[in-house]
């Protein structure tokens, strides 16, 4: 049991990385990106392709993939997200769901149904573990994942808190119309935020590819895990995603002990239980993703 708890907590690191891009983009643009999971899988395939054709180093492939994905995020924002925002509340949901269908099927057309993995490209890291006493072994990859999650969230928090871009992003998230009046181009800020979200997705993609196998249609389950992480983590800062990831990871890890498909059932069930609890606690206006920025007060009732 102790082992399951340790594994569950470590699994939370992956979910925090996976969810950070979704949470960040929602925090800035108020768009729930339904293509988030498919984009993470796309990033995994991009890194795989780079490893097969350009470099054998996973780290280098990740570094090369980041600018490509960032530019992709910028384009995605210009061509799809901003236009969809102007169309009303429903259009971003419809358009990003449509995008996920297109991405999934393009990946299937290009790469086929074979399961892929980077496990063979990272040598001993894929199976090495440390004994931390008793029967508990922790995988080195899991520790790396968890550490990366803390670093990624910390850097993001730092950018938001201490840089000019971060200030512009926070201001735009609060009130894009006013920001435009004081000489900040909110559209450019949105594009920058999308580029950052895609860099976060690059991390999600590489860890997805290293930890397990993936297929072109893995995007929907990744989206659901990311969404559950954000909702469970709930209110608060970016660190909420780490907390949400840990809770989800624990639920899945313990569920897997009970039944082979208990892994997924327990995760979804915990999500629903937390949802019901919040409904009966009468807590929410908008449940879940209320992503308050560091060091900025949002007036009550404004955030949708």
């Amino acid at each position: 049991m102790l082992n399951q708890i340790v594994q569950g907590i470590l699994l939370g690191g992956y979910y925090a990385i996976l969810a950070s891009g979704l949470s960040f983009l929602f925090g800035v643009m108020r768009i729930v990106n339904l293509a988030h999971g498919s984009l993470a899988v796309l990033a995994a395939y991009l890194i795989l392709t780079l490893i097969n054709h350009v470099t054998s180093s996973v780290v280098l492939a990740l570094v090369l993939a980041m600018p490509v994905l960032a530019i992709g995020g910028w384009l995605l924002n210009r061509l799809l997200l901003q236009r969809s925002m102007r169309g009303g509340a429903l259009v971003p949901i419809l358009a990003t769901f449509g995008l996920s269908i297109v991405i999934d099927n393009l990946l299937f057309e290009r790469f086929g149904a074979d399961t892929q993995s980077l496990a063979s490209n990272i040598g001993a890291l894929s199976y090495s573990s440390w004994n931390v006493g008793g029967n508990v072994y922790i995988s080195q990859l899991d520790v790396l994942t968890f550490t990366t999650a803390i670093v990624v969230l910390g850097v993001l928090q730092g950018i938001l808190s201490y840089t000019g871009l971060g200030r512009a992003i926070r201001a735009t998230a609060d009130d894009p119309a006013t920001v435009d009046l004081i000489g900040i181009d909110s559209r450019a800020v949105y594009s920058a935020a999308s580029a950052i979200a895609m860099v976060l997705i690059a991390f999600a993609g590489v860890f997805l590819a290293m930890r397990a196998t993936f297929t072109p249609y893995a995007g929907s389950s990744q989206l659901l895990f990311a969404f559950e992480t954000v909702v469970i983590g709930g209110v608060g800062s970016l660190w909420g995603t780490l907390l949400g990831g840990i809770v989800l990871g624990l639920a899945q890890s313990i569920g897997a002990q009970i039944n082979p498909i208990g892994f997924q059932i327990a995760g979804h069930a915990v999500f629903l239980v937390i949802l019901i609890a919040r409904v009966y606690a009468g807590e929410f206006k908008s449940l879940g993703i209320r992503w308050s920025m560091p060091r900025s007060e949002r007036p009550k009732g404004v955030s949708a």
Binding site: F26, I31, V32, L34, L80, R83, S84, G87, G88, A89, L90, V91, P92, I93, L94, A95, F97, G98, L99, S100, I101, V102, N105, L106, F108, E109, S220, S221, L223, L224, F227, E228, V231, N259, I261, Q264, I265, H268, A269, F271, L272, L275, I276, V279, F284, S286, L287, G288, I289, A304
Partner: protein, 350 residues
Amino acid sequence: MSTSHNALAREGISIQRWTPQAAVFTLVLGLLLVVLACGPLFFPPEVIDRLTTLFVYILLASMWNALAGYGGLVSIGQQAFLGLGAYTLIRLSNAGLNVYVALVVAVLLVELVSIPLGKLMLKLRGGEFAIGMWVLAELLRLLVTLDPIIQGSTGTSLIAMNAYAPGARRALTYWMALALLVVLMGTLFLLLRGRIGASLQAIRDDDTAAASIGVNVFKSKQVLFILSAVGCAAGGALWLAASITFQPGSYFSPQWTAYMLFMVIVGGLGTFEGPIVGAILFFIAETYFGATGVEYLIGLGVLAIGFALFFPRGIWGALEQRHPLRLIPIGYQLRFARLKTGIGPKDQVE
């Protein structure tokens, strides 16, 4: 209501709901239904099968539109009710109930289940509702695969259908599909035409403002949620009656939502006629391009994005905007009897 009617009448304005087009169209629709009802007597078997499929598509599209177009709630999880409808049919049929009786009972049972689910899920908004419904569908799929009768993801069959000869089975399923389509579309029509229709219009335009003038936003959305769940359950149960095999993965698949979304976006979100147009187009596209598989799905996705971004009103919405075309009398039209100056003889108010 009546005082405002009188006030309008003094000004020589009357409210009419029926247009001549709508009257003619209703007559044509009535005749079409009579012909369709007699279909099994003279259509060849393959036509009956294809029409059953089309009826299910129209039903699903209209029910997804009821939620998204009139309730402002995009659900990526309506496959939950498709799957539940089919699964409940399997269970009831295995318990010895006649298949077609079981089909109706299954739909009613899903209605009961959808009431508490709606109460919970409707607390979510926008994208949260969209994915929250998807999570719900996934959870239900996993729970259904735990049922030993379903044999995990392998699935099972609606064995009781063997009791019917192929011809009788085909005709009965067809009639069942037509009957459920008429009943559920009729219910949607009456809802939209009645008091709740006006509330829904107000909610779709601005739900905060609607709530402030006393519209019960939650209750109206709840009614749509239940109707949509019932419609999707009927679609799932009918699909099972027509195709016999049940695999949790294919009934609880988000692909269904992708299809519904495509039909509604292309046909016209928030119009009564749009989903019907969309379903017919989807039906034709599937007939000609469905075999290409992946490319077909990519095409559907690209078209859905294109319509959402550039033609959010869809085909029917665009037609309605250009021509005062109201085939289904849901809205209100004002008639100005005394104003014979030619200025604004008719104003559409919806």
